[in-house]
C-alpha cells in the first residue's frame, strides 16, 4: 500500500515540476482551464496533428477531461458532467501526450502504451469519480464550445473549473493505482 496521500493544487498550464511530486493515490484540486473532449473530438485532433495542422486551441501544458455533458439548464454553464471511460481514448492518448498535453482526467484503467507515454512525457492520468455528474458539474464555473459545435456533447469544450477533485491514478513513474490497490485489498480481504 502506498504512503499517506497528499493534496496538491493544480493550475494549468502545467510544467514538469508541477507533476513530478505527484504519486498515485494523491488527491488533486484543479483550478483554471480544463478541456473537455471524448471520442469524436479526439479523432479530429489526432487527424489534424497527423497532417501537421495546429489544433483549434493550443493544448500544450493543458489538461484534457474525458466527458460528454448533458445540455445546460437555464442559468447554469453546463449540465451533468462526470467522467467517461478513459480506455476508449487509449488509442489517441500517447499522441496527445507527445504533443504536449500534461494530464488527462477520466475514469477507469489505461493501457500499457498510455502509461509508457506518460513516463516518457512526464505526464499524468487522474481519475474523477465516475457517476458524480451533479457534483462535478458544480465545480465547472463556465463552459464554452472551443471547436466542433456540430458534435454536440462530443465537441471540444473549454471549462473554467474551481477545485475540481481528482485522484492520481498513473504518475510520472509509471505506477498504476488500480493494479496496486486492488491487489493489496484482495490480499487483505482473503
Amino acid at each position: 500500500m502506498m504512503s499517506e496521500s497528499k493534496l496538491y493544487k493544480l493550475k494549468p498550464p502545467l510544467k514538469d515540476s508541477d507533476l513530478m511530486p505527484l504519486k498515485i493515490g494523491d488527491k488533486v484540486l484543479i483550478t483554471g482551464l480544463m478541456y473537455g473532449c471524448r471520442d469524436a473530438a479526439h479523432k479530429n485532433m489526432v487527424e489534424m496533428l497527423d497532417k501537421g495542422q495546429p489544433l483549434p486551441v493550443d493544448l500544450r501544458g493543458q489538461i484534457l477531461y474525458y466527458v460528454g455533458p448533458t445540455p445546460a439548464p437555464k442559468g447554469r454553464p453546463i449540465g451533468a458532467a462526470g467522467p467517461t471511460t478513459s480506455g476508449r481514448m487509449d488509442a489517441y492518448a500517447p499522441r496527445m501526450y507527445d504533443y504536449g498535453v500534461k494530464a488527462t482526467v477520466g475514469k477507469g484503467t489505461r493501457a500499457e502504451p498510455v502509461v509508457k507515454s506518460m513516463v516518457k512525457n512526464k505526464a499524468v492520468y487522474l481519475v474523477a469519480i465516475g457517476g458524480l455528474g451533479a457534483t462535478l458539474a458544480s465545480k465547472i464555473k463556465a463552459a464554452k464550445v472551443a471547436a466542433w459545435p456540430e458534435l454536440g456533447t462530443e465537441a471540444l469544450w473549454e471549462f473554467k473549473v474551481e477545485d475540481f477533485p481528482a485522484i492520481v491514478a498513473n504518475d510520472v513513474n509509471g505506477r498504476d493505482i488500480y493494479k496496486e490497490n486492488v491487489k493489496y485489498w484482495a490480499e487483505k480481504l482473503k
Partner: protein, 280 residues
C-alpha cells in the same frame, strides 16, 4: 374492460424517466450510507460519501445524477382487461422518452445504427418489454441504463455439468474483469436458465427489484447472499480503487431450461442505479 388514454402513458413514461435520472431511490441512498460505515479502505469510504452527496446535489440543484442518462428500458405489465383509447402503445412510450429527453435535458445517447452510428437526437427508441398479466391495471417501470456498466455485462450458455460453481465463477469473473469500468459499487443482476434471449431478459429485469429484496426461493436467496460476500472479497472496491464495497446487491432470477443447457447472464448496473415505476 378499462380504457387508459395513451396520452397518460406518454406523460407517465416522460415523468418516470426524468425522475429516474434526477432522483435516486431511497434504497440506494441508504445503501451508500451503510457501506460508508463498513468499507475498509479509507479512500473507498470517502468515495462512498461523495457518491452519496452526489445524489443529494442532483436532487437539490436539479441536475442529472450522471451525465450518461442511459438507454431507456421500459417494462409494461399490461392487465388483460386494459385497452387504450387509440392504437400505438409503443409509439406513446417512445413519445414519452422523446419528451423526457427534451424537457428533462437528458443526453441523446442513442446511435442511429450500430455500424454506421449517427445519433437519433432524442434518445429513442426505448427498449420495450411487454408482459400480459391478469387484471385491469397497467404497471410501467422505466430504467435509465448507463453503458459503462452495460458494457461489462455478459451472457454464455454453459453445459449442465458446470453447475452452480460454473455459474458463480462466471459471475465473479464478470465483476473482477470489469474492475473500475462499470463504476462500482454495483448492482449485479444474474439470470440462470431459460434460453439465449430469456436469460438476458431476466438478468436485466432482476436489477429493477427493490435493492434489498431477495429471491423468493430460499436456495437462490442464499446464493445471492453468498455471491455478494465473494464479490466484496475481490478487492475491486468503490470505483475500482480498492476496498470491500464492490457490489451492494446480487439479484438472481432463474427459469427452467433445456436438459442439455445451462444459460447464464450477468447484467451489471452501476451506482447510478436508476429506475422508477408507476401503476395506471
Amino acid at each position: 374492460m378499462r380504457t387508459i388514454p395513451l396520452d397518460t402513458v406518454r406523460g407517465t413514461v416522460c415523468k418516470l424517466y426524468i425522475d429516474a435520472c434526477y432522483r435516486l431511490n431511497d434504497d440506494m441512498r441508504k445503501a451508500f450510507k451503510d457501506a460508508a460505515k463498513t468499507e475498509v479502505n479509507p479512500q473507498g469510504r470517502e468515495i462512498l460519501q461523495m457518491i452519496s452527496e452526489n445524489a443529494e446535489i442532483a436532487e437539490k440543484e436539479w441536475l442529472p445524477i450522471c451525465q450518461d442518462t442511459g438507454l431507456a428500458v421500459v417494462y409494461v405489465e399490461l392487465g388483460e382487461e386494459v385497452r387504450f383509447d387509440r392504437p400505438g402503445l409503443k409509439e406513446a412510450i417512445n413519445q414519452g422518452v422523446r419528451q423526457a429527453c427534451k424537457e428533462g435535458l437528458l443526453r441523446a445517447s442513442v446511435a442511429k445504427d450500430p455500424l454506421r452510428r449517427g445519433n437519433t437526437g432524442d434518445n429513442t427508441p426505448a427498449i420495450i418489454h411487454i408482459d400480459m398479466v391478469p387484471g385491469d391495471k397497467m404497471k410501467l417501470t422505466v430504467g435509465a441504463k448507463g453503458t459503462g456498466s452495460e458494457n461489462m455485462s455478459r451472457v454464455k450458455i454453459l453445459t449442465p455439468s458446470a453447475g452452480m460453481e460454473g455459474v458463480k465463477n462466471f459471475v465473479l469473473e464478470a465483476v473482477t474483469q470489469g474492475g473500475s469500468n462499470p463504476c462500482p459499487p454495483l448492482v449485479v443482476g444474474v439470470g440462470i436458465g431459460g434460453n439465449l434471449e430469456t436469460v438476458a431478459e431476466i438478468a436485466k429485469k432482476s436489477l429493477y427489484r427493490p435493492l434489498k429484496d431477495k429471491n423468493k426461493d430460499p436456495y437462490y436467496a442464499r446464493l445471492e447472499e453468498d455471491w455478494l460476500k465473494e464479490i466484496n472479497k475481490s478487492g475491486v472496491g468503490p470505483q475500482g480503487l480498492g476496498g470491500s464495497t464492490t457490489a451492494l446487491a446480487v439479484h438472481i432470477e432463474a427459469l427452467p431450461c433445456h436438459i442439455g443447457a445451462l444459460p447464464v447472464a450477468v447484467n451489471i448496473d452501476c451506482h447510478a442505479h436508476r429506475h422508477k415505476e408507476a401503476v395506471l
